[in-house]
């Protein structure tokens, strides 16, 4: 099962993959490429990944969701060049009860953002290109769910863009 795709994501296909007669409620989430970033106009972007780890991490996240709730989940993340409005990530969680479906779906997107090694390069209308680096990058917990006692604080990324310059 591959979670990364260089082709357009198909939400309906993910929904179909998790739906079953006994799991009648399906919560989904999609995020699409925005045309602005911090006030600057974005033309398109490029996602790149640490492929092997991204696949492993998505598989772990999916397993965790299916262990925590009585759900079946599916998720996919796009890589490569994306145009404005194209889905970057899509996920679906199906359950007999919608509480579980919503909770699992929410878990998927939070964990994907927090843990999957994917990076984004934005191409701006003014001709510049830059790596998108969240100001408050959280440190993923080593354990599946909560960080164990003694987990180090979030990394200090101050100056990381200058590294090696």
């Amino acid at each position: 099962m591959s979670f990364l795709s260089d082709q357009p994501l198909d939400l309906s296909a993910l929904v179909a993959r998790v739906t079953a007669p006994e799991r009648g409620g399906i919560a989904c989430f999609v995020s699409v490429v925005r045309d602005h970033h911090e006030g600057r106009r974005v033309l398109r972007l490029e996602y790149s990944a640490y492929d092997a780890m991204a696949e492993a991490e998505c598989a772990r996240i999916a397993s965790e969701a299916e262990a925590k709730w009585d759900v079946r989940v599916a998720l996919a993340h796009r890589v490569g060049r994306l145009e404005i409005g194209e889905p970057a990530v899509a996920m679906a969680a199906a359950a007999a009860h919608r509480d579980a479906a919503f909770a699992a779906c929410r878990y998927l997107i939070e964990q994907v953002k927090r843990r999957v090694p994917i990076w984004k390069r934005e191409y701006f209308a003014d001709g510049t290109v830059s790596w998108v680096e969240p100001r408050q990058a959280a440190r993923p917990a080593e354990a599946p769910a909560e960080a164990p006692p003694g987990t180090p604080p979030p990394p200090d990324h101050t100056g990381h863009t200058d590294w090696g310059v």
Binding site: A49, E57, V89, V112, W119, K120, W131, T151, W163, G164
Partner: protein, 88 residues
Amino acid sequence: MTVSTASTVTVRVLLFGSYAEAAGQTSLTLSVPAPATVASVLRLLRARADGARLPERPLCAVNLAHARLDTAISQGDEIAILPPLAGG
């Protein structure tokens, strides 16, 4: 097995995104004194000209899983230094 082999750990180091761009390379092989942790690899990277400004506590992974700076590493491990994640 020689003394020098037993007392060092050779690992593959992967760099991504802005880190790879800044370093001008996406992978390198490093040998660090045993016993070694992720922090040992970071210290060695910082000693290089292109690693002088690596952040204090970058995100790191060992063998495809997130790791802490004090995670022990073994001969042949794949250590990745990850810029802030931007997926999703």
